[in-house]
Amino acid sequence: MKKILISSVLAVALVMGGCKDNLDIENPNQVTTETYWKTDADALAGVNATYSTLHRGSISRWMFFYYIIRSDEGWSQSPATDIVNNMDQFIITDYNYGNAYGVWNDNYIGVNRANQVIDNVPNIQMDETLKQRYLGEAKFMRALYYYHLVTLFGNVPLVLRTPVVGDKPASATQAEVWAQIVKDLTEAAAVLPNSYPSTDLGRATRGAAYALLAKAYMQQQKYTEALQPLQWLVEGDGKSVYDLMPNYRDNFLITTENNRESIFEWQFEQNPAETTDDDTETPNQNYGSSLPQFFGPSGIGWSDGEARRWVTREFTEPTTTGARDPRLAASFLYDSTNVKGPDSTLIYGQTFTQRYGRNNQRVWFRKFQNDHWKNEEGYRSPNNYRSIRYADVLLMYAECLNQTGSTAQAYPYVDRVRQRAGLASLSAAKPGLTQAQFLEQLKHERLLELSGEGHRWNDLARWGDLGPQLTGRDPGFANFVKGKHELLPIPQQERDLNPNLAQNPGY
């Protein structure tokens, strides 16, 4: 009896304990990579993720400190001295400086997303044209992220495949990175559409690929090579897609987003309930930009970055009707945004005088701020960032023509930009400039047209103008060491983890 009892209990015990197969538990929360990448919807979502990167915190905020504040048009009086030192004054206190690392990391997050599309989408059975477009978009986005990386950090590792733990690539030279950018953009331009239906506005177009390709060539001083993609935009098919907006300020308002002048535009939208900038943490994320909060005038935003006053003094040339260049008021908030002065200038609903008195010399960037529709800023600005405008392309084309010896042919494109602002044509104002004079004029034109849009740093770099000689405009440049400060240091942590990475010169 006892034995029976014992055996039966043991049998029950073994049965209850021995169910090995139930150790395979499915994750009900997420799809595995093995089951993903099977349908065109999967491919589309993969491509979308590459764009989602653009509203991540570091890329949409801190990167512009490096392109705008670090250049001579901007500066920082932030009480957070790490910003002042590292992002304005060329005092690099920490090679792992968090905001620099964030920019580095966000761009590589974008690269990773693009790589996954480029690796997986070719194996999906789907409409071939659509597949090629998706691959083209991913290549464009990868090129865009590498464009940021090469212009900020220079000799960065080239990661071109879905990463695996333990990948330890060596540094690539800037030339190698540029070559990859050119390759990706050339391939992208071949397959991307000239335009999208209105529901897909914001995706990379052929025009965007050509424009970025031209920028990539120009940063390498390859002006001849840059001419071809620019010709497509200015004289070729692009001519029927793009045009200047009649009103300059339309390029910076939330009411006129994705207009004819916009070649590539980062799309932002407000999510009032968001809890994070991290777009992988929850769908309830911030897909707005926080830059307006950080550039916001004192009392409105953090004022961590602001404009140099000398830029406002460059707008000396009156319009043909004798008025002030309208681009000045569209570009800056300061005591004379309204030409009548501080008592008439409105800063987010209050006069400048009310806010700061009459003798405050500070100047804030206005272009992507939201003062045209509300009296506060925040971390969730819905105002799109017009990354590449047609005006920029026209000036680029003029620059390439001039650099390749066709100075006379370059005039009409500068004229278009000037005339839209109401100025006399350059052909009328300054005919017959030499190549060098024309370049100097172009530098002036680009400053007036594109200030505070994130192009200044790369313009100065391309022209070889970065150096202590800018100290007069921007005292921070007193610390600038040629051959060193053109690039940021490769983050120390990356070099700690991967000794194959070389540090940039001078660091």
Binding site: A13, L14, L23, Q30, T50, Y95, V165, E281, S303, P499
Partner: protein, 1064 residues
Amino acid sequence: MKNSLWKTGRRTQKSPLWPSVTLTVLLAAISPFGAQAADRPKDKAAGPAGLKNAYSFSINKEMANRAAVALAIRGRVTDEKGEGLPGVSVVVKGTNTGAVTDQDGNYALNAPDGSTTLTFSFVGYLTQEVVINNRTTIDVSLAPDARALEEVVVIGYQTVRKRDLTGATSTVSPDQANKVTANSLAESIQGLSPGVTVRSTGVPGQQASIQIRGVASFLNTDPLYVIDGMIADANPTINTDDIESIQILKDASAAAIYGARAANGVIIITTKQGKEGPIKVGFSAKYGVQEMYKRWNLTNSSEFAALQRTQYESAGQTPPASVALGTFNPNINTDWQDQTLQTGSLQDYNVTLSGGTKTGNYLISGSYLVNNGYVIGNSFNRAAFRINSRSQKGRVTFGENMVLTNSNTQSPTSGFNPMYDMATMLPVIPVQDPSYITTTNPGGWGIGTYPNAVTYAFNPVAVRNLSSVKSNYAKLVGNAFAEVKFWDWLTYRFNAGMEVSFDYTQTLRQTGVWQYNAAPYPSSVGDDRSRFLSLLFEHTLNFNKTIGPHNINGVVGISQQHTTRQTTGASRTNLTYAGGQYYGTISSATGTATATGGVPDDYRILGYLGRVNYGYKDRYLITFTGRLDSDSRFGSNYRTGFFPSVAGAWRISQEKFFNVPWVSDLKLNVSYGKLGIVVPTLGSWPYTAYINNNPRAIFGADQTPSVGAYQAQLANPDLRWESRIQQNIGLDASFLNNRVSLEFNVYNSLSRDAILNLTVPGYLGNLRGNPYVNTASIRNRGIEFAATYRNNEHPFKWDVSANFTTIRNRVENVGNQGQSINYIVSGNTRSQVGNPVGQWFLVQTAGIFQTQEEVNSYVNSTGKVIQPYSKPGDIKYVDLNGDGVIDANDRTFVSSPWPKLQAGAQFNGSYKQFSLSVQLVGVFGYTVYNDVRRSLDSYQLTNFRKDVSPWTTQNTATSDPRLGLATDQGIVYNNLAYSDRWLENASYVRFRNVELGYTLPRPFLSRAKINNARVFVSGQNLFTITGYTGLDPDVTGSNIQERGVDAGHWPSPRVFSLGVTGEF
């Protein structure tokens, strides 16, 4: 099976006259019975213990055959408190005549004549012999047994006598633990057991950090908690007053029965059970006040203004209006510590009802604890209700242990640490002032203003008023078992355990800001609910057989555990605000709503376990233990691990050749084995690569979010168990009739395949946390020593215990981290091969530049001025690599966050009705990175220490650099975060607890029908002797690799309490 034997052991305490010789023999090996009745030295020069054991058996055999007798004797046996002691065995010496005391301690028996001797014995008490001397009434007071050797120790699925232990197991007295006012069990055992490192915090309701024998894993150092056989976390929701015993299994042999989860040690908690007898009502009440015993000594607004003026002036700048002469307003003088801190309070009430019969017992307890922390807005409370019961019917015993708890914590928003803000916030900023009112700051909370009083510190009062996080945990932890005794040597047990928890967190945010220039924030409410369920099913067979001098016992079994957690969350912005109050529900809010939900945990563990103990003549003991564990959290190739161990013990004092009268017991034991570690943060599916579909791209004229998806987190399909090979050599000894006892252990453990959140380079674009990789191995070696001296022979009874531990921690391997990289970085630490985990890796300071010449002449070998930006009064750094630049390449290992020595000491004394206990904790030879001081002494955007002594040409003998602004590179460099300027020796000795008690006199109580009652006052953390300048040297650190970072650690509070315990 653990509970069954434990229970049997308990039963024998109450009823030693067990009617079965076989059972007696059986129990001799596994329980205190058998030997205990007579295994007592008859005098201080008792003979060899082996003979005593033989004697004990014969007595018991005789006891089984009762005989007739003559002289009637009665009396009462009481314990040291004067309370009647039930179940005491009273035997006429040299006969088989005996009796057992009843519930009140009374006994009656017939002795053969008036000149013989009575022997009184009871587990846990010294056996006493009394010559009858023709008396008919003999009252006896038994003294507690000084020796721990007869203790029964729970070792997992089994109990053994402590003397038969082969592994390293510590027993912590709950009496000692409960003297400390603690948030959690872990906190209460600080300093009580060697090898157990506890670091606690002052956050109400927060678990302390505990490490047993060093760190074997980079991700998890928590021991496994087993509560009455249920594997469940002993977090602050468990009432420590319910605990009857705490056993800490430290080495491989002791812990191997818990296999894959045991390598960080196992803490086995057994809760109280009812005892045979009529209902007893126990009660205790305690009221305490708590406060931070130390504050930062900071400048007031006038002193601050003077310092900041100097700071601006020395930088050639105009001081801001808040401090400038003429505009400085001395009426604003906010002491932010006063505003943030309060005198906290603590109340703890317990009532216990218990009783039982020979075949069943019960215990019901209710408790309520409420702790208002020393920081405004932080509190914790817990109500708990426990029912434990046992019943026996024939060969079958049923029982259950169950606790229902309802706990609440409240705090301001997470992501806010007042320990920084109350120190760094400026005294020239008012708490609240109409001048601060804006649309985003309708409350007018004082915050930094540009260009006046600039600081990014939070206004802690505003945070407390504008935000709250309330969590509720409604939880049931318990187990039920049935056990069948097939034969006297074989018992089957089925144990079902359950932990179910309903967790609810409400997050509220009112409109308003608490920081300079902060973006406007809409009011919002968030509700997060989660359901946790863990089920444990275990089948075990326990056996125990003695044949001649051979005893073999052990357990085999199967254990299955299934754990799930489901979560749902929702939030909404724009709370309704009407009639001066916010409506805090989601439906009453009107803004954007969001919802989340998922199954963060769902995993199963299946284990086959077994242990065999073999003993020969009580002298030679050997234990084999093994467990085969499979866990669904690893891929099928790596799922199953086998964790074996072996241990042996030699009781030298039992040998015939060993004849040293003053040595009562001497045992040597050795163990070797392998254990696993589970890293709970791995989640349930860590080895699989998943698609993250959270990204959202905006497209289209109407700016619609579109779903994006990709693999965000790198995955490692080869993830497998962490394991730890442990070796232990131990020596247990007691001397002088057990008045002195010693425990000495030497251990050496090597953890392998330690899982790292391998820091991956940013260029891989990884998100959602670094991937888990088995890559490291860590060795821990150490010595543990504990000694106790007891003196119970005089009215003044006292004992003193001391223990110390050394832990030498060494990283042996970190896998392939790339060329010449043999370390892992975390903050300012490196865990490098050959060094301890998380060693400080910093640039060294070399004093202060006194003159410009000194700056100019500080050059490297090529003549390059190393700190050209520095001025006299600036910090000088060591240019370690000689490249003429101070940067991260000049970092080196500077010192260790690991204590060289940790010690604890306890003193307990009693004289008549008074008792005094003192607990001390000492930790020596380690450094702490004082990050709050880094903030303060940077001089930027912060208040100043009152005793700061900045360098000036008149004040050169100082270690504080010159005042200045961070627009000056010299000043920036003074504040390098990666320098040893912020490291401090944090060695300390602390009076952890002092308690003075008084047992109320019996006549006084009997009128109130109270059996006994005791009142006490205690003081916790009364003194701390340390050179550390922060608030508390006992920091818990940021993570395992940054164990020595004081990132605004909440100090253990000083607690004064007053309490009463009693029984009626």
